[in-house]
Amino acid sequence: MSRVLPVLGSRRARHVVERNALFYRSQWLMFASGFVEPLFYLLSIGIGLNHLVGSLTVGSHRVSYAAFVAPGMLATSAMNGAVIDSVFNPFFRLKISHAYDSILATPLDVDDIALGEALWALTRAGLYAVSFVGCMFLLGDTSSPWAILEIVGALATSFAFSALGLAACTYLRSWQDFDLITLVSLPLFLFSATFFPLSLYPRALATVVAFSPLYQSATLLRGLNSGQFDGWMILRLGYLVALGLVGLAVAARRFRRILSP
């Protein structure tokens, strides 16, 4: 193989991104709905609970509950978007329509397909993240201009979850198996300190939660939201990117096994 990192595909992966863009051109309403979604997240939980909970401590700052929960919602939205994009459509094309089989007759390779799908999920997530962070600024859910960097954090989150989702979709056998995805993503959502601080969890559970990519993402974003930087942020970011790379490598391997046995 002439590639330095064989799992990472080649420039040809861009055609897979192009294909998805072409498809969503006819689905623009569905595409556009993603830009409105942040308002649902922020208005529902943020405003609803803000009055009940009051304020919380993040690092050395006291922030409103709305400002506390908004980065958690951004992390959750980045996760959900990535999972939907990388599990449902690729599953259909991998195992139902077998569209990938026909693509493999062209110069594209399996790792190009895996990379292309992950890149597409990332592109779409990036657009939504910009919209989400914009809404947070508008609604006053940020306490620092550094909050703009949350877009980068959200991208890393999407990358991790889209690559993991892509790997996961290769193990699904039928539409029924999609319940398994919910089985994993729901507890992740509920137990990743997205609604309340980790300090409120029992100690044993807190240790487990620390491994949750959604927790790492929410914590990273929360720090950026109030402009408090620390060395952990690099580690959290690194953790998300590393998970993404591992997910992509697994996805490419699994794709190869299924598509060219």
């Binding site: 193989m1 055609h15 026909s102 062209t106 060219s260």
Partner: protein, 313 residues
């Protein structure tokens, strides 16, 4: 067509095998296909034709043996090789979210073709496939034969040097079939190399300069259609329908009348030098077959001989 040593074969396989788990689908095949040649693969279901086609398409990797396409190793130059190939796989698979037109256009993009070129070719290919009026439809709504035509059109979007067709005419009506044959003749005239698998012996005779017969993962015969007939079948065939008789039992009694005979569920085939003479001798001996047919030997007889369960010892 010859495989003379001065021209590099488009495809060369030496001892190529393909294993799926414990099962060996292709068990060491050797062949070389010259530029511009039309090369056929015949064989019963499960013989290993598709497995071989997929390796020659640089999609699946041989388990062992050596395979070169355009003189290149597909394990290293896969994308470059596939860029010069057109593939009609046995199964039609499409991007079901896109229209016919977008299916073709997107395929052109996978080959990195410029958009204007793609648009021109898409229009021409939809025309060729008689699908212009369905261009904006979803692929799912097409009939089986229409899907087949679309697959064939799609395989031509990159003007391939080597076209690989795995049972291309299965599901096509006679008109569509002849339209494809005509296109294939034109491509051949333009120097395109063709590899075809088919279960239609007339198609193989019409289209192939040379062919191999595969059985149980091996090549059991190779040659030009006429040569194979000369080598593996008698000059003529006398077909007998015996009515109520048990074919198996009469086989022994008929054996002395033919060089070889083949017992099919509905009739007995006698391979003979002259069908006329044999029929006369049968009548003399008191045989009164319900129906008879005299004909020249064909590729079908070669196929039956090489891959069927014959009664000869």
């Amino acid at each position: 067509m010859s495989t003379s040593s001065d021209s590099v074969p488009v495809v060369r396989a030496r001892g190529v095998t393909k294993r799926f788990g414990e099962f060996e689908a292709v068990r060491g095949v050797d062949f070389a296909i010259a530029p511009g040649e039309s090369f056929g693969f015949l064989g019963p279901n499960g013989a290993g034709k598709t497995s071989t086609m997929r390796m020659v398409s640089a999609v699946s990797t041989p388990t062992s043996g050596s395979l070169t396409i355009f003189g290149l190793d597909p394990a290293i130059h896969g994308p470059e090789i596939r860029g010069r190939l057109g593939v009609v796989p046995q199964e039609d698979t499409f991007d079901l979210d896109l229209s016919l037109r977008l299916n073709l256009e997107m395929f052109g993009r996978y080959y990195d073709l410029p958009r204007t070129t793609i648009r021109e070719r898409t229009t021409e290919l939809l025309e060729f496939a008689h699908l212009s009026d369905r261009a904006e439809d979803k692929v799912d709504n097409l009939s089986g034969g229409m899907k087949r035509r679309l697959t064939i059109a799609r395989a031509l979007i990159n003007r391939p040097e080597l076209l690989i067709l795995d049972e291309p005419t299965t599901g096509l009506d006679p008109q569509a079939r002849h339209l494809l044959w005509e296109r294939l003749y034109r491509l051949k005239r333009d120097g395109v190399t063709l590899i075809i698998t088919t279960h239609y012996m007339d198609e193989a005779e019409q289209l192939c300069d040379r062919l191999v017969v595969m059985d149980h993962g091996r090549i059991v015969a190779e040659g030009a259609p006429r040569q194979l007939i000369a080598d593996h079948a008698s000059r003529e065939v006398l077909e007998l329908r015996l009515g109520s008789e048990h074919h198996d039992e009469v086989a022994d009694q008929l054996g002395s009348f033919a060089e070889r005979l083949e017992v099919l569920p509905d009739r007995v085939l006698l391979y003979v030098d002259s069908a006329d003479d044999t029929l006369a001798r049968l009548h003399q001996a008191g045989w009164r077959p319900e129906r008879t047919l005299q004909r020249r030997s064909s590729l079908e007889d070669v196929f039956l001989r090489l891959t069927g369960r014959t009664l000869e010892e």
